[in-house]
Structures are given as structure tokens and as C-alpha cells.
């Protein structure tokens, strides 16, 4: 019965009732999640007449807890639904569970969850990527047809790449952030993980659009995202981001070149593009993201909700102990880095400078998009790494986001599509970026690539 979930959603729907599909999802979770640990919470009473979905546990839901993978919210249930959740509910979706993540979405491996790591379904000794590792693993292991994740610097695309599934980061403002627990407000965006491009396009159509609860949501009309899926890439112009790929080696390089050939085969025009400031992207990202995070996480103070330390006798104790006990090491590291970057006397040198370079980067992307419809890089510089391989080396962990963070800094949409496998059988991934609100074109090109390669049909053992 659970083979139903191997099918693209529109085929599965034709073969079974909504109830049967939700049951298939719940049974798959029951049998497979023990080894993968993609879920922090499973909703055995999931109902609805639409798609069974898994939700990253930093998107608030009224019928399940929202922990953000943190001890500080281990008993927290939100009094309101995220706008994306409300729109999916209205569309009949069934929420089968909440998925694991790096604490407050801070990480690239899902090892920084307070509730234990998620394992990569392709190789259980490896990470699924992060921070939306639970969502990517749940889709890869065919436990759900689709999942919501969240993006700040690649947190949907990088795990999608590591798990061999499709991951979309929409344009900043395309999906309301209301109900997405903030990490870095100027970068955060809800993202979508699916097996195939079509599922992704259809889901975006449901949750995208202006929201009175989020001033940064865009009033740009919602597109018919699946309209051009069959249109191919003939005559479309793809720029290869030279600064990003010039130092690539080995199988990631070979796989990327192969992907370019697939696009060429469809009549795409492929040329070099230059985005020199992209080499600063990681530095800018970790200043801006952590600065914003240092303020966004101040509300977890033990006063109104979440963990409150029993040891507190004074107000200062209450803050120190509640936050000290509630937050994990990576979150504390980022709060400290961000606090420093905003401090009097350092603001101009760090936060101010980072925002200035961010503006330069935005300008260079705009220039590149004057010549190209899409920009291309691999999604990640390497396939999934071993659990524990980078936990002691934050900087090398941070470099996992090197190709994905620029899209968040600039606010453009980007999609990760499976592009093959390494010699060890680990998924590899191609990233396509488009100008602001270019999602429809992005799906068109990604769907062409998917049709030509059909990597989505392979699944983990």
C-alpha cells in the first residue's frame, strides 16, 4: 500500500481515497521513522481530504506542538496557525507530523536538534543536511509526498540535495512568514520539499500570496506555477556562476558539467556569468543572520512561555538559567556572535558593512539577470557527510551553505533538483536561481531537467 507514496501525487490521488493516502503515510512513518528519526511528533489522528504533509517544527500549528528542535520550547503549543498552515488546512491538507530540525533552524545537518539527529535515508550513517533535515528525509524515505521546511541560508535546498529530493526557496515575501518562528527575519522564508517539481509548483500555488499578518509579504499576484512545466528550455539563457564553480573538483564537478549538457540538449543557451561578491556571501550571511537572530531569540526568556528554570531566585537568574538550560551550544554561539556584531563600536564594522556588501551582491545579481533567465550552481559543494564529521568545526559546517546563502541574501527564488548520484550512491543536486518572482520559470526549467533525468524515481533502500 505504501508504494502509493512512490507515485507523483496526481497519480496517487487517482488510485486511492484521501483516507487511504493519509493512512499510507502514517504507516510508512510507523515502519521507517524509527531508523530515520525525521519526526518529532506524529499526528495519528490526521484528517483531511488532501495531501498528507509533514511540517518542519518551527512552523506553528494549533493541533501539534511546535518545539523548534529546542529544549526551551519542548512543551510549547502555539495558540495560532501559521498562515501557510491555515491555507493548507482550508485546502484540505492533512498534517501527519512535525519534522526534526537544527535547533531554531540553526545548522546544516539536523545534528543540532535537542531531540537527537535525523539520519539520511540513503545512508543512515550520514546527515540529511539541515536545518530542514527532517522534512527532506521524510520525503526522501517516502513517508510523505511533500513537506514544508524553512529557509534562511539554504535550509531547504541543502537537505533536499543531501536527500535527493526537490527543494524550493521562494522569493522573499512570496509566502507569508506569519507563524514561521523567526531566525533571521530579512532572510527567512517558508520552503517546500517534494519528490517532483510538479508537486512543488502546485503546493506553492496554495500557500503563496499576500498576508495582512506579514508586512513583508508581497502583493505580487500569485502565478499559475504549474502552467509551463511541459514547455522545455529551448532558447532560455542559463548563466553558470563562475566564482562559485571554478574551484569545484571531482564528482560534484563532473555531475554539474553533466547537468549542463542535459540543459544544452534541450536547446538551452549556457554561458559564464560573473557575480564577484558571491565570495563574501557566507561572511555576510553569518553576520546578518546571527545579528537578527540575537534579537529574535530574546523573547525566549522564561517569562511567558517555554522553559523556565526551577533554579531561579532573582530576575537575572531567571534569564541566565532559563536560557542557559533551554538553548543548545550552536544557538548560544550564534546569539553571542550576533550580539557582538550589533554592539556599540562594532556595528559599523560588522552589521553595517555586511548590509552594504549585501546591497552590492544584490546589484551584481540584478546585472547578471539582465543577461540570463537563470543562474546555475551545484546546490552543495559535496554530498551528505557523516554524522559527527563537522560538529566540532562550525566554520566548515557553515561552508555547506556557500552556494545557497546568496539567494537568501538577495531575496530571489531558487530550486534544488536531483542531478544524480555519487560513486557511493549519495544524491547530488543542481541549483537553479531566477530573478525575483521568477518561480514559474524556475519550475519550467527544473521540470525539464527532471523529465530528462528521472532521478526522482530512485529511492533509498
Amino acid at each position: 500500500m505504501s508504494e502509493l507514496l512512490d507515485l507523483p501525487w496526481h497519480e496517487a490521488q487517482a488510485q486511492a481515497s484521501p483516507r487511504e493516502l493519509v493512512d499510507a503515510s502514517l504507516r510508512a512513518i510507523e515502519t521507517r521513522d524509527e531508523s530515520v528519526h525525521a519526526f518529532l511528533h506524529v499526528n495519528a489522528d490526521a484528517r483531511g481530504d488532501g495531501m498528507p504533509l509533514a511540517i518542519k517544527d518551527n512552523i506553528v500549528t494549533t493541533d501539534m506542538p511546535t518545539t523548534c528542535g529546542s529544549r526551551i520550547l519542548s512543551n510549547f503549543t502555539s495558540p495560532f496557525d501559521a498562515t501557510a498552515i491555515a491555507r493548507l488546512r482550508a485546502n484540505g491538507a492533512s498534517f501527519v507530523g512535525k519534522t526534526n530540525l537544527d535547533e531554531f533552524a540553526m545548522g546544516s545537518s539536523t545534528e543540532h536538534s535537542a531531540f537527537g539527529p535525523t539520519r539520511n535515508p540513503w545512508d543512515l550513517s550520514r546527515v540529511p543536511g539541515g536545518s530542514s533535515g527532517g522534512s527532506a528525509a521524510a520525503v526522501a524515505a517516502r513517508m510523505v509526498p511533500a513537506a514544508l521546511g524553512s529557509e534562511t541560508g539554504g535550509s531547504v535546498r541543502q537537505p533536499a540535495a543531501f536527500c535527493g529530493v526537490v527543494g524550493l526557496k521562494p522569493t522573499y515575501g512570496r509566502i507569508s512568514r506569519s507563524g514561521l518562528v523567526a531566525f533571521a527575519s530579512s532572510l527567512d522564508q517558508i520552503g517546500i520539499v517534494t519528490k517532483t517539481v510538479r508537486e512543488c509548483a502546485e503546493l506553492l500555488g496554495v500557500i503563496a500570496g499576500a498576508d495582512p499578518l506579514d508586512s513583508t509579504s508581497s502583493t505580487q499576484p500569485v502565478d499559475d506555477y504549474a502552467a509551463d512545466l511541459a514547455s522545455g528550455v529551448r532558447g532560455l539563457r542559463f548563466g553558470v556562476v563562475r566564482e562559485a564553480v571554478e574551484r569545484l573538483e571531482g564528482e560534484v564537478r563532473a555531475n554539474f558539467d553533466e547537468a549542463l549538457n542535459v540543459l544544452r540538449g534541450g536547446g538551452a543557451i549556457i554561458e559564464d556569468a560573473r557575480v564577484p561578491a558571491i565570495s563574501y556571501a557566507i561572511a555576510i550571511y553569518y553576520i546578518v543572520a546571527n545579528a537578527e537572530a540575537s534579537a529574535n531569540l530574546s523573547r525566549f526568556d522564561g517569562v511567558r512561555f517555554g522553559h523556565r528554570s526551577e533554579r531561579s531566585k532573582t530576575l537575572d537568574d531567571l534569564y541566565f538559567h532559563s536560557r542557559g538550560e533551554g538553548f543548545g551550544a550552536e544557538v548560544k554561539r550564534r546569539i553571542m556572535l550576533g550580539t557582538f556584531a550589533l554592539s556599540s563600536g562594532y556595528y559599523d564594522a560588522y552589521y553595517g558593512r555586511a548590509q552594504a556588501v549585501r546591497a552590492t551582491l544584490r546589484g551584481q545579481f540584478a546585472d547578471a539577470f539582465a543577461r540570463f533567465d537563470f543562474l546555475l550552481t551545484p546546490t552543495t559543494p559535496e554530498p551528505a557527510f557523516k554524522i559527527g564529521a563537522k560538529t566540532d568545526d562550525p566554520l566548515s559546517m557553515y561552508l555547506s551553505d556557500i552556494f545557497t546563502a546568496p539567494a537568501n541574501l538577495v531575496g530571489i527564488p531558487a530550486i534544488a533538483v536531483p542531478s544524480g548520484f555519487s560513486a557511493e550512491g549519495l544524491p547530488l543536486s543542481l541549483q537553479l536561481m531566477a530573478p525575483h518572482f521568477g518561480e514559474r520559470a524556475l519550475f519550467r526549467a527544473a521540470a525539464f531537467f527532471e523529465r530528462e533525468t528521472e532521478y526522482w524515481k530512485r529511492k533509498p533502500r
Partner: protein, 467 residues
């Protein structure tokens, strides 16, 4: 010989904007509700909630900016001011920092440095060994109005605050209610010898009545002078005024000062106000108290004191102008409004809006006096009656039979009756005893039950007696 001491004072006033919802959510900002009943996920800072700006608050802030002759900026920026306190749900206050909505204005001779918008915090209530948090107030829209250090003493400060409060109320930006915390003041005070460099300043916080502002400033000036004369030095610190002792004490030293780590709030777009909207708001501004008081002196010949007393609130000024216009007697209108209307409102604790005596009723009363139909003493009585009964002055005159007799033939008949009834006194008068005239007038007034118009009564009586 060292110069005389002088004080340099600047004020920061927080004024609550009169909106029907909070600045970033739909909750009511009404004062006095049971604790934590006017709250929602947004003003409680719940995970995933986002602020959405209340445009009415922006309009009121723009009005204040224009009413204080500020430059109102078409683009300003909200920033996060980071600090931890249990009354601050998000761990940061959304405020404006380097790009406030208005700058560079003035009220009278006092320059306004800036006006910025921000959200209020909640309230802590201390109970024995614990504290409780009430977040009803959290997210209430405020403007902070900051002066240049242009004030020299407590009286200046109170005069500035009085005018500022009037302007806030005229524009409808704030209800000016200090008991409910709609206006709160912090005072920056330093002292120096005449002609010397500026001294180190202290900030005294949370002064919630004009009286406390005055006392706190006086105390702080005296304290600083005393410290300096002893050869000590002033520390740049934050102080708190203690109502009980009338003194200020240290709340936070410079070393304990916060680093607020301001940065633009990425949850909010830049605050853009169309220049055309600014102009529209400017056009809709009411005439403000200072120009209005000047006009009353110029056009109505009122004294400074009368004019200022009448412009205290917009409602009173408008009431006065309506009375003056209909009565066609601006000075009489000023006296009646200033002395009688305000007395009754004060005694009976009624608002002008609910007051029974409409401007037209008072104006008609003044006209009855001016036409000689009633006398001054009766007018007072009629006025008090109007205040109680709400009836028209003409009705009351009728009901009480208070109309003066100004018909000479009616008075003559009455006088003849008095002369007949008091033959002995008339004899004395005619014999040269002039004092008896007063007695006879009294008798005549009695005969007319006090309604005879005095001059007329005198003239008629004298004419009959001297015949």
C-alpha cells in the same frame, strides 16, 4: 568671582497616541481593563507572530510633527531596541532610532529635536516577594517628543509641558491624561556657572505629573549645585524621582547603561508617508492654542490671561468663540465662560461636551443683559438655573418672573402707591431730609418685587417727589 549658577534642562515626553488599536496588532489599548485581557499572540511576542503597523498611529504622529513645526519625513525607519525586562515581551522594543518620523520643530521658544514613534511596554506589579506582569499596555502606540536643552528652570519646563499637552490634545493625538499615564516625562538636567561649558547631565525618569516634574527639576538643580560647591562631580546617570521624599535617587549608573544594539527591524518595511498625505494632514490641523490666544488678544481685546485661559482646550475655545459670535460681545462672553462656565464645570465635575448650557443659551443670556431686559443679579440666577435645568434663558425668565420692569408707566404706578402709603417719609424728604430717598427707593423695589430697573426707579421716584 565665579558666575551665578544656571541650569540647562531638556525634556523627553512620552505621549500615548489616541488610537482604537495597538500599534502593531488589533488589541484595544484602553486603560484600566483587568490584567492581561487586552493581549494577543502579537503583543505577547509569541513565536511566529509579526508586527503590522497601525496607519492611524502614523497619522497622529504626523499631526504632532506638523503641530510642533517639525520637518516630517516621508521616509522613516523602525528599529529594534534590545534589552531584557519582564514587561517587554519580545526582548526588544520597536522604536525609531536614527531615522525618526519628525525632527527640528519648536513649541514657543523651545526647540524640538525629534519626535519618534514606538511601542509601550507592559507593567510590573510587585506583590510581597514576587512580581506580576500585566501586558495590557504592551504595544500601545507612543510618540516620544525630545526637546533641545532650551529650558532654564522648573517653571519653564512646566510651561512647556502645559503648552505641549494642549497641542497634543488639540491635534487629537493624545488625551493628555497624566493619571492614566497618557503623558510621561523624563528630565535631563545639568548645571553650570554662567558662561562656562555645559555640565554633566543626569536623566530623571518617569515623572507623571507636572507638579513632580517641577519638584524633581528643582531638587535635581539644588542637588547638583550642592555637589559641585562641595567640590564633588556629577555622574552621568539615570535617576528616579521619589514622590514620598521629593528627592531624586540613582537608578542606573553610567557603567550600568544598556547597549541597546539598535538595528532596523526587518519585520517592518520602511515607514513611507506620501508628501501629499502630509499636506492633507497639515490642511486638516485645527487652529492651535498659541495662535488662537494671540488672535483673541488682537481681535477681541482680551487680556493675555483671559486669552490663555480660554484656549486651554480646543473644546473650550470653540465654545467660547460660539458664545462670542452669537452674543456679539466677545468680552462679556470671555468673562462668562472663564468665570461662570469653568466654575460650574469644575464644581460639578462635568465635561464641556456634556454641559447643559449650550453656547447659544449663554449667548442669549448675554443678549438679555445687554438689551436691559434683565439685570446682573438676575442673570447669575438664570445662569445657575440653566446649568441645573438645561432650560432656555427666556423660559427661566418667564418661569421666575425675573424680567426687569422697564416700562416707565408701570414703575410710575408703583411709585404712586409707595408715596401714598408712606406720607410721613415723603413729608420728611420734601422738608429737606435727603436720606429718606433711599428708604423710598427700597419701598419701591419691594413693591415691584425687585424687578424695577434701578435707574428708571430712581428717576421716576425723584420726579414724583420733586414735583
Amino acid at each position: 568671582m565665579p558666575g551665578k549658577w544656571e541650569a540647562v534642562i531638556g525634556l523627553e515626553v512620552h505621549a500615548r497616541l489616541l488610537t482604537s488599536t495597538k500599534i502593531f496588532c488589533g488589541c484595544s489599548p484602553a486603560f484600566g481593563a483587568p490584567p492581561n485581557t487586552h493581549v494577543c499572540p502579537i503583543c505577547l511576542g509569541y513565536p511566529g507572530s509579526l508586527p503590522v503597523l497601525n496607519r492611524k498611529a502614523v497619522e497622529l504622529a504626523v499631526r504632532m510633527g506638523l503641530a510642533t513645526d517639525c520637518e516630517v519625513h516621508p521616509r522613516s525607519v523602525f528599529a529594534r531596541k534590545n534589552y531584557f525586562y519582564p514587561d517587554l515581551p519580545k526582548g526588544y522594543q520597536i522604536s525609531q532610532f536614527d531615522r525618526p518620523i519628525a525632527t527640528n520643530g519648536r513649541i514657543g521658544d523651545v526647540r524640538i529635536r525629534r519626535i519618534h514613534m514606538e511601542e509601550d511596554a507592559g507593567k510590573l506589579m510587585h506583590h510581597g516577594d514576587g512580581s506580576l506582569v500585566d501586558l495590557n499596555r504592551a504595544g500601545t502606540p507612543l510618540v516620544e517628543i525630545v526637546t533641545e536643552p532650551d529650558l532654564a528652570n522648573a517653571d519653564d519646563a512646566v510651561a512647556y509641558l502645559t503648552r505641549l499637552r494642549q497641542v497634543l490634545m488639540y491635534t487629537g493625538a493624545c488625551d493628555g491624561n497624566m493619571e492614566e499615564g497618557s503623558l510621561r516625562c523624563d528630565a535631563n538636567v545639568s548645571v553650570r556657572r554662567e558662561g562656562e561649558e555645559l555640565g554633566t547631565r543626569t536623566e530623571t525618569k518617569n515623572l507623571n505629573s507636572f507638579r513632580y516634574v517641577g519638584r524633581a527639576i528643582e531638587h535635581e538643580i539644588e542637588r547638583q549645585i550642592a555637589v559641585l560647591e562641595r567640590g564633588g562631580k556629577i555622574d552621568q546617570e539615570t535617576r528616579l524621582y521619589d514622590v514620598a521624599t521629593g528627592e531624586t535617587r540613582v537608578m542606573r549608573s553610567k557603567e550600568e547603561a544598556h547597549d541597546y544594539r539598535y538595528f532596523p527591524d526587518p519585520d517592518l518595511l520602511t515607514l513611507d508617508v506620501e508628501p501629499s498625505q502630509i499636506e492633507e494632514i497639515r490642511r486638516a490641523l485645527p487652529e492651535l492654542p498659541a495662535p488662537r490666544a494671540a488672535r483673541y488678544q488682537r481681535d477681541f481685546g482680551l487680556s493675555v490671561k483671559d486669552a490663555e485661559a480660554l484656549v486651554v482646550t480646543k473644546a473650550l475655545a470653540e465654545y467660547y468663540e460660539a458664545v462670542a459670535a452669537e452674543a456679539a460681545n466677545a468680552k462679556a462672553a470671555a468673562n462668562w465662560v472663564r468665570n461662570e462656565v469653568l466654575r460650574v464645570l469644575n464644581e460639578e465635575k462635568v465635561e464641556l461636551e456634556e454641559y447643559r448650557v449650550t453656547p447659544s443659551m449663554l449667548a442669549r443670556l448675554i443678549k438679555l443683559i445687554d438689551s436691559g431686559a434683565i439685570g446682573g443679579k438676575s442673570a447669575k440666577e438664570i445662569f445657575d438655573d440653566m446649568s441645573q435645568s438645561g432650560e432656555a434663558p427666556e423660559t427661566i425668565v418667564e418661569r421666575k418672573g425675573l424680567s426687569q420692569i422697564s416700562d416707565p408707566s408701570a414703575i410710575r404706578e408703583a411709585a404712586e402707591r409707595v408715596i401714598t402709603a408712606n406720607a410721613a417719609q415723603v413729608e420728611q424728604y420734601r422738608g429737606g431730609k435727603q436720606q429718606v430717598f433711599g428708604f423710598l427707593v427700597g419701598q419701591l423695589m419691594k413693591e415691584t418685587r425687585g424687578k424695577a430697573k434701578a435707574e428708571l426707579a430712581n428717576a421716576v421716584l425723584r420726579e414724583l417727589l420733586d414735583r
